[in-house]
Each structure stands twice: as structure tokens, then as C-alpha cells.
């Protein structure tokens, strides 16, 4: 993997979200979340608590409820068009080649795709030997790498990841975490995850979401992409898991 991956074109803004989300008049959650500029925030919580809803709210996607509150970027610019999104499902289009999938954003906007950039990105994620292949010929890990390249092709300063590694086997997941950390360096990242180990390894900031609201959780004092078996990482992971089990009960 080559070093010195391009920093995002514009400086990555931090994002603040405060307010209340209701579905059919019933409060689903109160939220007070701040995503620090250029850092990874991992958002954890039990299923159904509204983690993905937060991500969808900021992205401006349908949530099936009403949000009252504000979300702002630290540079006070609108967030539209500055966030790229990667979901648990790779969402590769089966009829397009890997290369065409990476460029799909440009086609959807009616722009001419920058093939050179796409090639570079596929090289970065280690798929340069597979550019012409269809997604169904790739393994799960390769497909997620293609999806990551597609996210990078959008070149947005903010990246939202909704459990993108959860369906991968443990080894591939660790590889993907390393790759994502490297290629998304300098961007503001929100990672929704169920996995305390993933959060302990990757997060600059861990935010736990429960019916009581959002609260930040202390992260290990070591630099991110922490050693999986370092005592601080394991300690953070264990305590986080304990806490999550407590609130889930």
C-alpha cells in the first residue's frame, strides 16, 4: 500500500447534532453529539436505539420520524454534498464492473467519470487486478474494498460508515479496519458499529447511545489503529462490552 494518500480537498469540518427524534409523537431518542473534525467517532448502542437514524438524519435521508433540533458543521457551511456514505451491504451494482461501480457517483450526477482517479483508488485498495470483473466474482472482503474505493471516489471531507465491516470474517475485518483508517485519514468519520473491539481499536471518540441519550466513553490513551491485544485496548473493549450489556438488559 502506497503512503501519502491524498487528503480530502476541503478541510474536514466537525459536525454537531442536538435535538430530539420522534416517531408518531413518541420520543425515540434525545441526542447531543459532536463529531470532532478529522477524527473517527464510533457510535455504539443496542439495536433499535437509533444509531443509523442519526446517520440518516445528518445525511438527509428518510427516517420515518420527525427531528426537532439542529445539526451544524463547525465551518458553518451546508453539509449537503460533503458526506459520503458506506453501508453494511456493499451496494455494488451486479451488472457493472468494479471500475464502473467505483465511478457510479459521477454517472449518477451526469458528470464524466475520472477514470484515472478510479484506477488510482482501486490500486490503493488492492483491487487493480480486478477492475474489469463483476462484483459477483469477488469475495466479501474484496467487495467491501470496492465499496470503500467508491466512497473515496466521491472525495468528501466527511464519511459515514454504517457497520460496513460487520458481515466480514474476523481476519478480513481487521484488514479492512486498517485499510479504512489509512485511506480515510484526515476525514471526519462517523462509524456506527455493534462491536466494542472495533470501537476500541479505531475511535478517537466513542459515543454510546441509549434511551437516556448519548454519552462519550473514555478511549484508550494510545494512538488509533491500536494493537488489538494491547492491554489498554482490551481493557476499553471489556469495559465497554460490560456497559453495553448493562444498558441492553
Amino acid at each position: 500500500m502506497a503512503d501519502g494518500f491524498e487528503q480530502p480537498m476541503s478541510a474536514s469540518p466537525g459536525i454537531s447534532l442536538q435535538g430530539q427524534h420522534r416517531i408518531g409523537g413518541k420520543v425515540l431518542f434525545d441526542v447531543d453529539l459532536h463529531l470532532p473534525s478529522g477524527q473517527w467517532t464510533c457510535l455504539l448502542g443496542r439495536s433499535g436505539v437509533g444509531k443509523s437514524t442519526i446517520l440518516r438524519l445528518i445525511l438527509g435521508l428518510e427516517t420515518g420520524g420527525d427531528f426537532t433540533g439542529t445539526f451544524t458543521a463547525t465551518d458553518n457551511m451546508p453539509l449537503t454534498g460533503r458526506i459520503s456514505y458506506m453501508a453494511q451491504s456493499d451496494l455494488l451494482l451486479p451488472w457493472l464492473s468494479v471500475m464502473e461501480n467505483v465511478c457510479i457517483g459521477a454517472r449518477l450526477r451526469g458528470e464524466k467519470p475520472n477514470i484515472g482517479l478510479a484506477k488510482d483508488l482501486l490500486d490503493r485498495v488492492g483491487l487493480s487486478a480486478h477492475v474489469g470483473q463483476k462484483p459477483n466474482t469477488l469475495s466479501g472482503g474484496m467487495r467491501q474494498r470496492a465499496a470503500l474505493a467508491r466512497s473515496l471516489f466521491e472525495d468528501r471531507p466527511v464519511v459515514f460508515l454504517d457497520e460496513p465491516f460487520s458481515s466480514l470474517d474476523a481476519g478480513t475485518r481487521a484488514d479492512m479496519q486498517e485499510l479504512a483508517t489509512e485511506v480515510l485519514k484526515g476525514r471526519t468519520v462517523l462509524l456506527v458499529t455493534h462491536d466494542p473491539a472495533e470501537a476500541a481499536r479505531l475511535a478517537h471518540q466513542i459515543t454510546v447511545m441509549s434511551a437516556l441519550g448519548t454519552q462519550n466513553w473514555p478511549v484508550p490513551p494510545t494512538p488509533v489503529l491500536r494493537e488489538i491485544n494491547a492491554p489498554q485496548t482490551l481493557d476499553c473493549q471489556a469495559k465497554l462490552l460490560d456497559y453495553l450489556r448493562g444498558i441492553a438488559a
Binding site: S84, Y85, A87, L91, P94, W95, R107, R109, N136
Partner: protein, 249 residues
């Protein structure tokens, strides 16, 4: 279906037919033997070919126009909620009118030539094609929609690059149905009033007690339908394979 199986089924059918003729001792003007029908077919090959060509042209043109109209309607329905709300109930309601009952009216409006038969065929296949393709356009993984929105996709580009390719297998299903209905439409149109076509030839032969010629026409019609069914089947399979990203070979 393998060629050997088809030939075997054909031989068994012919054998049964001959058996019934022998057992019932039916006169040839009620049930001619396969051999007599073959002789009639050979003797009248020119007139059968002339009329078969007309029916085939009606079916093909009807299929083509009906498919184009159906595809255009389905896309319009999928693009505009207002159109969908207004047009879909009307479309469903029109299905309550038996199209065959319209045949005399179509002959009155479009004459005894090919026009009325093509319109009849179009009317019969329009709904299955529209309905199947519209269903395919709407049945799309919501993740694709979210991803496209986050990429700033234009609605028409989303339709062109994602919705339509994704719905091609459904279009294939609609076409398979259309291939079954189309010859029925053309022949019924010919029965009601025509000066050419296999349906016309069957009525003519029946009127002159040339039952062997009637059977010969019927068999040619069945062959046309089978060829159409197989060709459309191949096309539908290719559409599905394309959408799944499988090899087309």
C-alpha cells in the same frame, strides 16, 4: 428442455392422435389423420406461408409496439407519484374489460387489414408488460436509493443507471407472458374480421369443410408461438443474467 425430449413428446402426441383416429374411426372431415394433415400442409404450403407471414408480422409488430408502450408507461409511473396515483387505478380497471370483446370495435375503427390485429395484440400485452416492469422498477433495495441520494444523483440518472437495469429480469417476466398472449390477440383479431392471416385461413378452411387445412394452419400457428416463446425466453434469460452480472454465454 432438450431437443430430444421435444421430438419425443411430438412423436408421442402424433402417435396418440393417430390412435384416436383409428379407434374412433372418425371421418376425415371431423378428425383428419396426422398424415392427411401433413399432405394438406404440403399441398397448400404457399397459401399457408403467405398467411403465416401476415400473422407473424402482426404478432411481432404488436409485441414490439406493446413492449415499447409498456416500458414507457412503467418508467413514467415510476418517475411520478402523481401519474402513478392517477393512472394505475385506471390501468387496473381497464383490465376488467375483456379485450376480446373489443375486437369487433377495433375492426370497425382500424379496418380489416393488419392495423386492427396489431392494436388488439398491443392491447393484450400492454398491461402485463407495464405491470411487470413497473413492479421491477419499484422493487429496488432501498440502500441503492440512499446511496444515490448521498451521491447527489439526479432522478433520471438514478432511473437510467440503477432502476432500469435492476428491473430487467422483471421486464423479462412480462415479455414471457406477452409472448404467450400476443398470438392469441392477433388470431382473435383475424377471426373477427380479416382478409389474411392464419386465423382467417382457419375460418376459411372450416367454412369449406377442409378440416385438414384447418389443422395444418393450427399446427403452423402453434409452431410460430413455440418459436416466439423460445426466442423471448432466450432474451428474458439474457436480461436476467445481465442484471445479475453473470456471463451471457
Amino acid at each position: 428442455m432438450r431437443l430430444r425430449d421435444i421430438l419425443l413428446a411430438l412423436l408421442v402426441g402424433l402417435g396418440l392422435w393417430q390412435l384416436i383416429v383409428v379407434i374412433t374411426e372418425a371421418p376425415h372431415y371431423i378428425l383428419p389423420s396426422p398424415w392427411r394433415v401433413a399432405q394438406a400442409a404440403y399441398k397448400s404450403r404457399a397459401i399457408i406461408a403467405d398467411n403465416a407471414w401476415v400473422t407473424a408480422a402482426e404478432v411481432m409488430l404488436g409485441l414490439l409496439i406493446g413492449t415499447l408502450l409498456g416500458v414507457a408507461t412503467a418508467i413514467q409511473l415510476a418517475l411520478s407519484k402523481t401519474t402513478e396515483r392517477l393512472l394505475l387505478p385506471i390501468l387496473v380497471f381497464t383490465q376488467a374489460v375483456p379485450v376480446f370483446a373489443l375486437a369487433p370495435l377495433l375492426t370497425l375503427w382500424f379496418g380489416y387489414g393488419m392495423g386492427s390485429k396489431i392494436v388488439m395484440t398491443v392491447l393484450i400485452i400492454y398491461f402485463p408488460v407495464t405491470s411487470a416492469f413497473h413492479d421491477g422498477l419499484m422493487r429496488i433495495d432501498s440502500g441503492y436509493r440512499d446511496l444515490s441520494l448521498s451521491m447527489g444523483a439526479a432522478k433520471l440518472n438514478f432511473m437510467r443507471h440503477i432502476q432500469i437495469p435492476n428491473a430487467l429480469p422483471s421486464l423479462g417476466t412480462g415479455l414471457r407472458l406477452a409472448a404467450v398472449y400476443a398470438p392469441i390477440g392477433a388470431v382473435i383479431g383475424e377471426w373477427v374480421g380479416a382478409s389474411k392471416g392464419l386465423g382467417y385461413l382457419m375460418l376459411l378452411a372450416n367454412g369449406r369443410a377442409k378440416i385438414d387445412l384447418m389443422f395444418a394452419s393450427l399446427i403452423v400457428l402453434a409452431c410460430l408461438t413455440v418459436i416466439l416463446h423460445i426466442s423471448v425466453g432466450v432474451l428474458a434469460t439474457r436480461l436476467t443474467r445481465f442484471a445479475q452480472g453473470s456471463s451471457l454465454k
